[in-house]
């Protein structure tokens, strides 16, 4: 089996300036299961083929989430400190018990409709303020509008609180990127995380006082008040939902704008109604694969791809690679806006499949719909700046001009 010393898969720099897609394509073709080491002794197995990644996702008994879902999330033999109490780092049966109240209160049909309305209102209002000739950074002016509406609905807060919460989660996830944190990244991460937890704590207090439970945090507050859920569990999962929602879809939207700018004839198919916004959204999700990988720990031997990953090993599941697998997708390295039967794996699979997937899809589709209906368009004017992260594929800067839609599509 291929063993890579000092693997580029650890390097945020590699993801920001080099071509991780090509590197992963070579692995997928020649060494679909490989080992990646770092000088300090950290080591993980990398799964790069769709069928292997899928098999790993659904095998949550052999592959535990309790040891952190990011490289460096925690060190063996220690579990993540939130292990078993926060969705993303909990195994069954604790995971299912936490997931149920969150899913039922935050992601039910009525809540989805409410979220959809707020997100559409926010996108419309930000687009309506723009005039032909405006120059702006899409990542700061438009992209944050997507999750902002979700926060407003789930946490029952106003736009300014939602914006502050966004800022804090952005600092947490992008803490290795100077664009977000300045010079003291770990301090910024810690302070931002506490800020979010404190915000959740105050919201829960307030909701216990008022008794309103018609949104996610209100429902969790009632669970805390009634003794059904420890307060720490409510806090950690409020944090989990906020981070999961905030630090993904803005990147997907930014990458979507950059992608469509380069492929205008394909965008015309959406504008003309030849390809539905729903279909286009699925291809954008496949193409951008915003969450590049997740990590698991094999608690027992895990056989995959003709080899056996020994118990005690970290295993990484590369969504971005699975989404370019030629065994599943025809012409995998091409963006095809009308791609039929898209089985994109951007949200993972199995019990840990992204809880917010319906909301994220709704946000992106609403954005695509509003963009297609807009009489203007975003024309990219400079090379986009990629986020320095091997975990989130996104942009920290996307300079665009606002142009007439008809000029854009000429």
């Amino acid at each position: 089996m291929l063993v890579v010393e000092d693997s580029p898969l650890y390097s945020a720099e590699f993801f920001a300036v080099d071509d991780p897609w090509r590197y992963l394509a070579e692995l997928r073709e020649n060494d679909p299961v490989s080992v990646h080491r770092r000088a300090d002794g950290y080591e993980f197995y990398a799964l790069t083929r769709y069928d292997h990644v899928y098999a790993a996702y659904v095998d949550h008994h052999r592959l535990s989430s309790s040891y952190g879902t990011m490289i460096d999330g925690s060190y063996l033999p220690e579990k993540d400190s939130a292990s078993g109490r926060m969705l993303i780092v909990a195994d069954e049966p604790a995971h299912g018990a936490i997931k149920k109240p969150i899913k039922n209160s935050g992601f039910n049909r009525a809540m989805l409709a409410r979220i959809g309305d707020i997100v559409r209102r926010n996108i419309r209002s930000v687009l309506a303020e723009l005039s032909v000739g405006d120059r702006l950074d899409f990542t700061t002016v438009v992209a944050p509008e997507l999750p902002k509406g979700v926060l407003e609905a789930l946490f029952g807060i106003g736009p300014s609180d939602a914006a502050a919460l966004l800022e804090a989660t952005r600092t947490m996830i992008g803490y290795r990127d100077q664009a977000y944190t300045g010079t003291s990244p770990l301090d910024a991460l810690v302070d931002a995380q506490l800020e979010v937890l404190e915000f959740m704590d105050e919201l829960i207090d307030q909701r216990i006082r008022t008794g309103t439970a018609d949104d996610m945090i209100g429902f969790l507050a009632q669970c805390v008040a009634g003794g059904a859920m420890p307060r720490d569990v409510a806090l950690l999962n409020g944090l989990n939902v906020a981070v999961g929602g905030n630090e993904t879809t803005p990147h997907t939207a930014s990458l979507a704008v950059a992608t469509l700018d380069a492929l205008r004839p394909q965008w015309r198919q959406v504008v003309d109604g030849e390809v539905s916004c729903e279909t286009a959204t699925q291809e954008l999700l496949r193409w951008t694969s915003t969450n590049s990988y997740v990590q698991r720990l094999a608690v027992v031997d895990f056989p995959v791809g003709g080899t056996v990953i020994p118990a005690g090993s970290f295993v990484t599941l590369w969504n971005m690679s699975a989404n370019r697998d030629r065994l599943v997708f025809e012409r995998p390295d091409e963006f095809l806006v009308g791609r039929p039967g898209n089985r994109q794996l951007a949200f993972g699979a199995g019990v840990h499949r992204c809880l917010g997937a319906p909301v994220a899809t709704l946000e992106i589709q609403t954005f695509v719909e509003e963009l297609a209906a807009w009489d203007k368009a975003f024309a990219v004017t400079a090379t986009p700046q990629r986020l320095r992260s091997n975990f989130m594929l996104g942009l920290t800067e996307l300079q665009v001009d606002v142009v007439k839609a008809t000029d854009f599509l000429e």
Partner: protein, 77 residues
Amino acid sequence: MTELTVNLIMECVRKVADREIVEDTDIFAAGIDSLAVLRCRAMLKEWTGVKVPGHVFFGGRTPAGIFELIEAEHVGC
């Protein structure tokens, strides 16, 4: 309001961690995590009016180290 001292830091960590803590106990080895830091911070704020930034707990690691960082950063001044 009381003045913030090493003793007060030990006192709040003791309450939150529910175990004996001395000046040079590594509070994270003693089981303190982000949520516990949140509680410690709230307690210190209530007692002294000073809001200690989270990174000071993680940077200081022991009650003595935390106090030293608070002094160095003039937190709350």
